[in-house]
Amino acid sequence: MNHPRSAELSSQKWTLQYPELGTDPVPHSVNTSAAYFEKEREKLFKRTWLFLCRDDELPRPGCYVVKQVAILETSVLLARGNDGIIRAFHNSCRHRGNKVVMGGGEKSGESKGFICGFHGWTYDLQGKLKNIVDEEDFFDIDKSKLGLKPIHCGVWRGFIFINAMDTPHETLEEALGQWGRDVAAFPFENFELVNVYSANIRCNWKIALDAFQENYHVQTLHGRSAAAALNSKSNPFGHLLDVRLFPEGHRQAALPANLSFEPAPAVQMAVKYAGGANVYAYSDSSQRKISGANRTGSSDWSFDLNVIFPHVQLIVSDAFVLTQHYWPVSVDETYWELRQYLPISTSVAGRIAQQNSQAALRDVIREDLVTLENTQTVLRSGAITHMQLCDSEITVRHSYYKVDERINAPD
């Protein structure tokens, strides 16, 4: 396919470049149907490589993290072994299935191994069963066959993925495809995690993802905040600079910047203290080559909005990196988790500059969050059966298309 290189160079619409998507309104019932949600669980999430977290959450051998993954109906225990390798297990004791690391929510720590709090069975960091309390009281038990149940686990550029299938249909590398090969060049190692936000939100996971994967809303919802830094006189609705939709389900959209925007005083300070870009201050991007991003080399580029199929937003720019997980909990509940990364700073001036970006992003994100439950609540009425999607919302259209493709695939 011959995709146009930028919005300026083409009067064609992106959506027409992908005829398989069509241009019809998209049914909304998939966001309220409990039956469809169960199909998403069985045919999509349980059969797909899912981005779980970054490996900076387990920096040393002995570090472990527990994630409650409702859509997989399990609790996932990640542990970095003494060999440095990160492994994933069902957090479930081979004795009678109790959680080895007990409790809900996220847990993390450092340990030499794991002791089940129920009857004291002990596992090492590699998942091997090391000790059974009063072993002689059991019948023909073989410890070597009773390690923690592993989950397929792979790491790409520090991103840890899991796959719940006994035998995945494809390798992680195959699942990431061309998108993974391209974005792998981005210098993630130049960024540090500055904070994590999370919340339980009463909406379908796709409603949450949609609000964060298109930029048509910028001119209205962020009309007071980010719009002036992104949308310009020549591109008032923020038409995308580049769009790529990948057969594996991932997608990438390049968003514009307004180079004539005059940032406010505190933002200018932050730029001065840290050097470089800020969420409210973009300069000519053709002058600063960023590997793995701004593929078309556009001058008025702000950031690439990627979606790692099916449920994670990944924004990359030289100003900031965001990951946002939209974990399905039930048909109308989502666990949202945002991780914000900024260019590494070791100076006090740099730390103060980072705080400016943190404050700005937090406000913009809260503007987005307010729409989610407002949408879901009304959808339950069934009054709105279809959503009307414009060309700038091609990522939303692609998202429903790829999810539906998996739901309708033969078993």
Partner: protein, 117 residues
């Protein structure tokens, strides 16, 4: 007893008013529960002082900020946290309806001196 270096004694009243908070979540709550008059006073007083504050604090790398400098650092961070209120929204918090900040769980990174202990 003053908490700020003598060069910044004029800002002591903001420490007294509870702005020199180490945690982002606490500064955030302080911001959204302030009056706009209080925001304006804090923002406009610190704006012309920030360069001097940053220059003073930058005597040490982030990993070695002496205890006596930290309230000044927290004030500088609070300035950045407050700045969108005045520069973007002209209000302490976002306009209604808002996603309540108490619904957002935040995990903040520690300062280097908190890791050392």
């Amino acid at each position: 007893m003053p908490t700020l270096p003598k060069e910044f004694a004029d800002l002591e009243r903001f420490v007294t008013a509870g702005w020199a908070l180490p945690r982002e979540h606490a500064r955030w709550k302080r911001r959204v529960t302030s009056s706009i008059a209080e925001i304006k006073d804090f923002y406009e007083t610190l704006l012309p002082r920030m360069d001097a504050m940053v220059k003073y604090l930058d005597r040490h790398p982030l990993s070695e900020v002496p205890e006596g400098d930290r309230p000044l650092l927290y004030l500088a961070l609070a300035f950045m946290d407050v700045s969108p209120s005045w520069e973007v929204f002209h209000a302490a918090d976002l306009p209604e309806p808002v996603f309540e900040i108490d619904r957002m769980h935040i995990v903040e990174r520690p300062y280097p001196w908190e890791l050392a202990t």
